[in-house]
């Protein structure tokens, strides 16, 4: 075991001699974290913009009553900004795909409503209008439906009480005739993009180390030091254990930086102190599994290109099959296939920790599978090294 530790120490020493590589490898987690924070930090609810063309204006260019009401009510929503465009601007932006959807309030909109005629908004869109556009369209439709109902209520009240009525009369009429939806927001029910994506980013980051490890092992084979080591009293098992320990340490240090930054910035929203250390432990085990895969790929690669591309293929396959960024629906063939990806197990474990502060004992199936991958990976890499060396 001492010889294995000495190999690990040597690997680490070599790693530390490349100052530029070292700086980059330590800055990488910080850069990834900054990207993650920029992309997801604090943005936990939808916020969109409704681009509107209001053609329902008077001679002075002022919006008429009902179009003004729509714009005012939409603008009052927390989740929406309203941007008023001229017809020409809207068309140009749509043509250039600067915007994917615009709402047109036609000329005479308010007059038609006042006259008891039906009136309608028009939506112009590129393609399906985009995800944001579809949500904004739903909000606008809801708002228009609300105004429509108010108009119907006024018409009913007018019919029931005659022409002389005011808002109090309407409220009195509606007192016992309302249906509303009460939304209860629990503490953890709001979707949190950081919690959702952090496991994926962490696991992908660790997996990227596979190509570095595979390449390093291939290079060592190429320069002959691996073969020279075989002729010493160092066993192949000890040699691979040493390299494995070094790869795990490297991957873990980078992950430690990434998770520590996440903890420092998002704090209690993401981790408790206990769950932070649990996440670190899970990442340590996963770094081991990734390190074992790096050894396998490095053992069988016959060129640097092979090592890198095999590692990239492996990484991408695991990421895609493991539901790294998007959950895979149950009862699908992909759900079954995802069980063959180690990412599935670390993603599940990290999500359980960040969402529910799950205990490590409750995560024993995931830990067992990752530990199994380490053992099998080390044995397989050692075996393949012997086979390739024959």
């Amino acid at each position: 075991m001492i010889k294995a530790l000495y190999v690990a120490l040597l690997e680490t020493k070599i790693f530390l001699t490349d100052k530029a590589g070292l700086a980059f490898s330590l800055l990488l987690p910080i850069a990834i974290f900054a990207l993650m924070y920029g992309a997801f930090g604090g943005q936990t609810i939808f916020h969109g913009t409704a681009y509107m063309v209001n053609q329902d204006v008077d001679a002075q260019g002022q919006a008429n009553y009902y179009s003004d009401l729509i714009v005012e009510q939409l603008d009052g929503l927390d989740s929406l900004d309203v941007s008023i465009l001229s017809e020409a601007d809207a068309q140009r932006k749509l043509d250039r795909s600067d915007i994917l959807m615009a709402f047109y309030i036609p000329e005479g909109f308010s007059d038609d409503i006042d006259s008891g005629l039906s009136s309608q908004l028009t939506i112009k869109q590129r393609g399906n209008g985009g995800d944001e556009g579809q949500i904004v369209a739903s909000i606008v439709r809801g708002m228009v439906e609300n105004i429509n109902q108010q108009l119907q209520v006024h018409a009913k009240v007018a019919g029931a009480v005659g022409g002389n009525y005011n808002q109090d009369t309407v409220n009195e009429y509606l007192a016992n005739r309302t249906v509303s939806v009460n939304t209860s927001v629990g503490e953890s029910s709001a979707p949190d993009p950081v919690k959702e994506f952090l496991p994926g980013i962490v696991t992908m980051f660790i997996l990227f180390g596979i190509s570095m490890n595979a390449r390093a092992l291939y290079e060592e084979r190429k320069r002959g030091t691996l073969e020279r080591l075989v002729t010493t009293r160092l066993g192949v098992g000890q040699m691979f254990t040493g390299k494995f320990l070094s790869y795990v340490a490297r991957g873990f240090i980078q992950t430690l930086i990434l998770l520590s930054l996440a903890y420092a910035v998002f704090g209690g929203d993401l981790f408790t102190t206990a769950s932070f250390f649990k996440a670190l432990f899970i990442c340590l085990v996963f770094s081991g599994a990734a390190g074992a895969f790096g050894l396998i790929i490095g053992s069988v690669s016959r060129s640097e290109g092979q090592a890198i591309w095999m590692a990239v293929f492996f990484t991408m396959s695991m990421v895609m099959l493991g539901g790294t960024f998007f959950p895979i629906p149950e009862d699908t063939v992909f759900f079954t296939i995802s069980k063959f990806s180690i990412n599935t197990y670390i993603n599940d474990a990290l999500r359980a920790i960040t969402a529910d502060n799950a205990s490590l004992t409750s995560l024993w199936p995931e830990l067992l599978i990752m530990a199994g991958v380490i053992v099998v990976g080390l044995a397989a890499s050692r075996y393949m090294f012997r086979v390739i060396s024959k």
């Binding site: 010889k3 000495y6 040597l10 070599i14 320069r223 073969e227 020279r228 002729t231 010493t232 066993g235």
Partner: protein
Amino acid sequence: MPDEFLIAKELHKSFSEIKAVNGVSFSINRGEIFGLLGPNGAGKTTTIRMLATVLQPDSGEVTIGGYSTHQNAPKARSLIGVCPQDLALYEELSAIDNLVFFGRMSGLDGKEAKEQADINLRLMGLEDRAKGKIAKFSGGMKRRINLAVALMGTPEMLFLDEPTVGIDPQSRNSIYEVIENLRDKGMTILYTTHYMEEASRLCKRVAIIDGGQMIAMDTPTALKSQIGDPDKITLEDVFLHYTGRSLRD
């Protein structure tokens, strides 16, 4: 009765359809420098790799110091040091770091490894470059460190695979002196080279291998006598006599 330190019996090794080594047998006596000569692709390096426990022969047997390389590889490895044809060093690290690391891998403890590294650096005339990075060394210095690494762990036998290739006469001469010094101390050495004058100077016996087979083996003088007047014939003449003049690469 000479004390045979290394015995190779009927070694065979194929890579796919190519028979790299085909029934090679020889022995090396304790304290002897034995030269293994042959043109490119003759099977020298494959033979050395099998003897040094890197490759398993398809058939045949090797014993070093009485230990079978197949059945007791760790024991056999404890007796040997290998200086491969290509430099096998960690270029990012210093000379002393390389020596100490391989010393540790050869079973020395930290203190012993450091002491032996210092001795071997002095032996190679590189004590003042101990902390220099290998990457910044000249070709000759790298070759000397390559040899110094093979000496870590005080092996009883050395495998030297073209240790002087591509270096200037001064560095080559320095390596010769080190090897002769080791021979005088009783080290057993298997030496391969393309430089025939080198083999004549250093080796007590030489074997010529070609097409994976041993085609001649004796002292340089005896081999010369086989084809003419040993005072007029060079080892290169012997080599060309047995292996022909056609290009091999």
